[in-house]
């Protein structure tokens, strides 16, 4: 059951990604990306990461992509980006490069995987506590510093968005 789900969801994710990089209309691109993200959220659930899956849906596929769509609509960008300079074989080297990269990675993945240190958070352990509670605990203990620094990060992003995009300062 799980493996079927993986294959189905994985295939959809890849197909959507392929459409994303070849689709001309940016609105459709965004929709394809959302589709990929939803599929990835399903994979997270398969990997026992329910909280991350939820965040993926709410923050990523929800908030961030809506922002993208909003900007696309705001700027009223048409799908004519290829109009002026489009050469028939322009994309070939880039695609070859990508395939090269993938080949290298797959060759490396074929070798036996080094077994890293195992931690204590087995599936059973996580389920006994609940994924969300565990993450919440960790955020305010082990990861307190990065969590707090993230506030600065988001603050900076807010300042930046205002600074750069506001019509009149």
């Amino acid at each position: 059951m799980e493996s079927y789900l993986f294959y189905i969801v994985g295939t959809i994710a890849v197909l959507a990604a392929v459409y994303l990089i070849f689709e001309r209309n940016p609105v459709f691109c965004a929709l394809y990306l959302i589709q990929t993200m939803v599929c990835i959220a399903v994979l997270y659930i398969l990997l026992e990461a329910q909280f991350i899956a939820a965040v993926q849906m709410i923050v990523y596929a929800g908030a961030i992509m809506v922002l993208f769509l909003f900007v696309i609509m705001l700027l009223n960008i048409k799908g004519d980006e290829e109009s002026k300079r489009s050469f028939p074989f322009r994309k070939i080297p880039a695609i070859l490069m990508g395939i090269g990269l993938l080949t290298v990675i797959c060759i490396i993945l074929k070798s036996k995987l080094l077994q890293g240190k195992q931690d204590v958070y087995t599936v059973a352990h996580i389920e006994s506590l609940g994924n969300t509670q565990l993450i919440g605990n960790l955020l305010f203990t082990d990861y307190l510093l990065p969590f707090e620094i993230t506030s600065i990060l988001l603050f900076v992003a807010a300042i930046g968005a205002i600074m750069l995009a506001k019509r009149k300062l």
């Binding site: 050469f87 028939p88 074989f89 080297p93 490069m97 990508g98 290298v104 990675i105 490396i108």
Partner: protein, 641 residues
Amino acid sequence: MLNLISLVLLFPLIGTAINGLIGKKLRKETVGYIACGAIGMSFFVAILVFFGLLQLPPESRVFEKQLFNWIESGSFKAAAGLQVDPLSSLMILIITGVGFLIHIYSIGYMHHDKGYHRYFCYLNLFTFSMLLLVLGNNFLLMFIGWEAVGLCSYLLIGFWFEKKSASDAAKKAFIVNRVGDFGFALGIMLIFITFDTIDFTGVFHAASQGNIAVGSFTVTIITLLLFMGATGKSAQIPLYTWLPDAMEGPTPVSALIHAATMVTAGVYMIARCNVLFMLSPFTMTVVACIGAATALFAASIGLVQNDIKRVLAYSTVSQLGYMFLACGVGAFTAGVFHLMTHAFFKALLFLGSGSVIHALSGEQDMRKMGGLKKHIPITYRTFLVGTVAIAGIPPFAGFFSKDEILLEAFVRGNFIYWAVGALAALFTAFYMFRLLIMTFHGKSRVDHHAMEHLHESPKNMTVPLKILAVLALLGGFLGIPGASAINGFLSPVFGEHGHVETHGAEACGSHAACLPYLMMVISTGIAIAGIYLAYLMYIKSPELPKKLAERFSLIYKLLLNKYYIDEIYDALFVNPIKKISLLLWKRVDAQLIDGTVNGVAGFVRGFGSVLRLSQTGYVRNYAFYIVAGCIFIIVFVVFGK
């Protein structure tokens, strides 16, 4: 008294600071007094130090004064300290002494220049750097002085930067010197790695303890790199090209920097590192060969130059070649001795030529001179002394030192060294007298305009000339064979191998005792032959040179154009680097990669699109580099075993 040594450095630095900061507001006289006073005081202290050194017993004549810890990291320590020993005390005497005279001379020579204070500021700075170079007690400090004199030389060659040739010459000097410095810097690093110290004492002590085998690879590389530095600064083949161009600077500068002091830095460095060089016979051979080749090569170019300063410039290159020849055969004393006498007579010759140029309102072409003897008698007489001294007629200074080099080359080297040296000596005598005759004798070819202003130079220019003439006349007696004062004085530095005239005599067998005297006679003969040739060609039958030039037009042209060395360098090195840069910039960056990304279409669209393809700045291309680099690094890190 030895403790005063830091004052030697301090005075010129103070002079630089005063003239550099407020010189613009001071009166010209004050500027001159400050600059000369600084060097004069420095000279005075140098004399005190010298006598202080003499009071010590010969074997303990080394004094080190630590100033502060400069670089310190782990085992590595470089203290800024000064070292006084016979070699450096002799050098500071020459630098401050000759420098002082040239400073005084400059007051008169530069009087009308609007950059008066700038000039003296640079000149003091130069003296400071040169003193730092010879007084430093470690390689790094020496290197700083080394770079600083290069910098001052650059500033002074380009002093009249309004002239394009001057600023070009300055740039050339700086860059050619950097090539040599590159070798020197690497050499210092290698010394540090090998000996774990860069103090002279430490390095030479370790080297002389036999830790390093004679002829070992490391020491050969080290010495070759050091020698590379020396060829740059001392204008030896192949890095000599900057020196003749350096004559674009004011003449006193040529006298001080490009004849008497800075260019001898390479010789000083090799003499200082004699312990290392003696460990590498191969390097010594290279040094001797380059020295001999330069001596002959530059002298041959000097034969046909028509610019008075250029003749002297090539003569300087040639004389430096002698010094390297001496060092290369292990006769360091002879090299340093020649360095000293050369400082006297070459400074004299340059200042004399400066006086001539001054008298002729800036004319430097010898074809427009002639017959100046009666107009500027003092200059003529002192110039004559210098010419005779460089030609090697006894008992003038040049005779003793050059003779000693030739003798050592014969005894410790081989016949070829001697023959090359002797041939160069013949050339030297010839072109120097050619210069003398063309300038001072014969019919006047001076144009009328210049003739009206023809005058003898003021006192503050002629007095230094006279003093230098006396030195050029008498300086040689310090090194009379058999009773050489300089030999005894320098022997603590050079130890056994510095001067081995007697050893050589033993090696030559029983009737070698008369060899030195035989040599003297031969070299005197050579000098006289050269002078006679010059006399024959330029006084007896003045049309002869023209005929010769016509008959041997190819050789003449080759010589006149200095063997086309500059052109070759330009074609071989300078242009390619520029081209590669342009290529990388315009073609590879802009066309090749973009072209690949944009694919075959670029070809289809023909030339029109080639122009457009050359426009990059595209994010896409930059991302492409990143991906390519990424693939490369992954493959390299993972599979590159």
